[in-house]
């Protein structure tokens, strides 16, 4: 009878927590977690104690009291009689608008600069290298101040636009570039304009559908549709037809000089332009490098294989290089978008009324609620960043390598 000997049963000893490699890392982590938590508790407790010593409590009631100050750029109506909460909302919208437009412009400039830096034309490549290095290696705040200084010091005052003045409006007297901002015509939506807008939206959707059909058709049959020309036609023709059919319901109100300032039209303030351009230019330099790295990451063999099959260079880029490069480009691009959004809080340098200037600036100063205001500000930027990350991650998962 064979006797099965049990392997010696391992007994757990306390010293193993320290000397056994299997348990040691867990011990360290638990101890570290406890220490961090203790420090956090101490920090919060310390803050509360010190605030109490100063006679301050933590309350958010100030949000519902009258703000009492005016904000120049408002996407939703706001008067000085509205609440601090609404002032914060106005600031939030201003932040989002500059961040969104900044991301778009930064991407456009960045992709252009990144592709051009790889150009075989020596001068173009060197100019782009210079651009990228100059932008990347100087602080953003300096760029914001430079653009702002140019906008206020180098452009004419509104009164220069008067009869006999030295400045005049451009583009058939419809756009005025002054040191208070750029005034552009504003569309006036009359009756029937809703139909025109609806047609426009439908034709934009149509373009996407067309591209989808074209791709499917190419994959199935190999035939190529003239997508670009069809898209261009879809973009303009139905909307223009609707516009004239409805009797031209959308008119433009051009800015006119009245009193001390331009009246009518849409004012794009210098503070906004300075922040928007500087954020876009600065971030575009980083995006250019990301794009360049993405393209260089694709093996040259891919291009050569495509050429060998007789595929034209632009289609090679569109169908073979870019889809693969995007996998490399998207993840770092997300963090650039996040950076741009958070960097927009430098708005205070040029007096752009973003959420840092309203909630985090004037409101805090007028109510003395620094901790509460900064907490809310932090939560806002956190949520915004998480949303941007989530959306971009969704897009990333749609372009990333599908492993089956």
């Amino acid at each position: 009878m064979a006797e099965a000997t049990d392997p010696p049963r391992e007994t757990f000893r306390l010293s193993q927590l320290l000397y056994d490699a299997r348990y040691r890392s867990m011990t360290i982590q638990v101890v570290a977690a406890i220490l961090i938590m203790l420090l956090l508790v101490e920090l919060v407790d310390n803050t509360v104690t010190n605030l109490a010593a100063l006679g301050k409590d933590i309350r958010f009631g100030f949000l519902w009291s009258t703000a009492g100050y005016d904000i120049n750029q408002q996407l939703i109506p706001f008067t000085s009689q509205d609440t601090h909460a609404r002032a914060a909302l106005v600031g939030i919208l201003n932040t989002l608008v500059v961040a969104a437009l900044g991301c778009i412009l930064a991407t456009i400039i960045g992709v252009l600069a990144g592709v051009l830096r790889l150009s075989s034309n020596w001068i173009v490549a060197k100019i782009m290298t210079f651009y990228v290095e100059a932008m990347r290696n100087t602080p953003l705040l300096i760029w914001i101040l430079i653009v702002f200084a140019v906008m206020t010091e180098a452009t004419p005052q509104p009164r220069e636009f008067r009869e006999g003045g030295s400045a005049s409006m451009i583009l058939w007297d419809s756009v005025a570039i002054s040191n208070r901002g750029v005034y552009i015509p504003r569309p006036i939506w009359a009756e029937g304009s809703g139909f025109v807008v609806a047609v426009f939206v439908l034709s934009v959707i149509g373009i996407f559908v067309l591209r989808h059909i074209a791709r499917k058709r190419q994959q199935d049959t190999g035939q190529i549709l003239p997508v670009f020309r069809l898209s261009l036609a879809l973009f303009f023709v139905p909307t223009l037809l609707a516009y004239f059919l409805m009797g031209r319901p959308v008119t433009l109100e051009t800015p006119e000089l009245g009193g001390f300032n331009f009246a009518g039209g849409l004012q794009i303030r210098n503070s906004f332009i300075a922040l928007w351009l500087a954020l876009s230019l600065y971030t575009s330099a980083f995006i250019a490098e990301i794009v360049r790295s993405g393209i260089l990451a694709i093996s040259k063999g891919q291009t050569e294989a495509a050429f060998a099959l007789g595929i034209q260079p632009n289609r090679t880029m569109q169908l073979i290089i870019l889809p693969q490069a995007l996998r490399v480009i998207i993840p770092p691009l997300i963090s650039q978008y996040l950076n741009l959004t958070k960097n927009s809080s430098l708005a205070i340098a040029v007096g752009y009324m973003d959420v840092r200037s309203t909630l985090g600036g004037i409101t805090i100063n007028q109510t003395g609620r620094e901790l509460e205001g900064m907490l809310l500000l932090g939560i806002f930027y956190l949520i915004t960043s998480l949303i941007i990350s989530a959306v971009m991650n969704l897009y990333n998962s749609s372009v990333k390598l599908k492993e089956r």
Partner: protein, 339 residues
């Protein structure tokens, strides 16, 4: 690890801030210098001169306090603060006293947990425009663009004034007086608004000061004064009575020139004797020695001297005494009795 170090540092910083919440006088004496929160540059009130030495009306009060407490008018560390950061800096203990053209208001005195201990300049908000704009009253400013320092009472007064008069304006927020000045001179705003003393001081630095006019309307009361943290009454008393000593000195004719002579022995005026410590023990009551006021007056002069030297009619800023004359001259300056 980094995170832990960071949190630890925060905790230590928090503890340090907590410890300094009380007994400012001990901190000042231990440090050997006074941290004075001042304007980041307003000619006549607080600005460094060509040699980098801070000069001005508000600066003199800082120096007087340093002279009274530490015996050295130069033992002041000036911390330039913007209108937005000033109260937070004071509450956080970064400065011992805030003397920075700050308006004494109800909510700042109570809700912001500051203590305004007096008024060193009675001011009001005004508007400055170019002559050629053709405006003679603030009520004609409909549709103008107005430069304004954010985080100030002027910001609120401005909103109220234009709303009550039912006229429109476009605010251009600026962070500092220098920025406001640059924007206004570039024509990015038609109007610059702040306290009238600030307007006069700013205009005095313009190349062509005569091309700018301060409109007659005074739209608010702006009592500017030194502020300390709430809850440290001993320190508040020292600041309050140093200011009062300078005001009383002018009333009794004590100047920087004759203060040593008057302090040498008792005079016939008992008020002067008590102020200068030749009679009574007033200094000990606020935790200082008996010569505290002598040192303050000898260092900067009395209120009138400080005014005339920095912002008076003989200076480029050229402000009249107006409300800031002694009560005996029809002004509002009225130091409580030294008794």
């Amino acid at each position: 690890m980094n995170k832990k170090v960071f949190l630890g540092a925060l905790t230590v910083a928090g503890l340090a801030a907590g410890a300094s919440a009380a007994a400012t006088i001990d901190d000042v004496k231990a440090r050997g210098s006074l941290k004075c929160g001042s304007n980041e540059g307003l000619a006549g009130f607080a600005a460094p001169d060509a040699n980098g030495v801070w000069q001005g009306f508000d600066v003199s009060l800082c120096r007087a306090i340093a002279a009274a407490v530490l015996g050295d008018a130069q033992a002041v560390e000036f911390v330039p603060l913007t209108s937005q950061t000033r109260f937070t800096a004071l509450a956080a203990g970064e400065v011992d006293v805030l003397i920075r053209n700050s308006t004494w208001t109800f909510s700042r005195d109570t809700d912001l947990k500051l203590d305004f201990v007096g008024v060193n300049y009675y001011d009001g908000q005004g508007f400055m425009v170019r002559n050629d704009i053709g405006v003679s009253s603030a009520k004609e400013l409909d549709g103008t663009t107005v430069c304004i320092q954010t985080g100030t009472t002027t910001e609120l007064n401005l909103a109220d004034f234009f709303r009550v008069n039912n006229i429109s304006y476009e605010p251009v927020p600026v962070a500092t007086n220098a920025e406001g000045q640059q924007q206004y001179l570039a024509g990015a705003c038609d109007v610059y608004t702040t306290d009238i003393s600030g307007l006069a001081a700013t205009r005095a630095t313009f190349e062509n000061a005569g091309e700018h006019v301060i409109l007659p309307e005074v739209v608010s009361k702006e009592p500017l004064g030194p502020a300390v943290r709430h809850g440290d009454s001993e320190w508040g008393d020292i600041v309050r009575w140093t200011l009062n000593a300078l005001i009383a000195a002018e009333e009794y004719g004590v100047t920087s020139a004759n203060v040593m002579e008057l302090a040498a022995g008792p005079t016939t005026n008992p008020e002067i004797n008590r102020l200068l410590g030749t009679e009574g023990e007033l200094g000990a009551m606020i935790g200082l020695d008996k010569d505290w006021a002598v040192r303050a007056i000898a260092a900067v002069g009395n209120y009138g001297e400080v005014f005339e030297r920095n912002i008076g009619e003989a200076t480029p800023i050229g402000l009249a005494r107006g409300l800031n004359a002694q009560w005996t001259e029809g002004g509002l300056l009225y130091a409580p009795p030294f008794r």
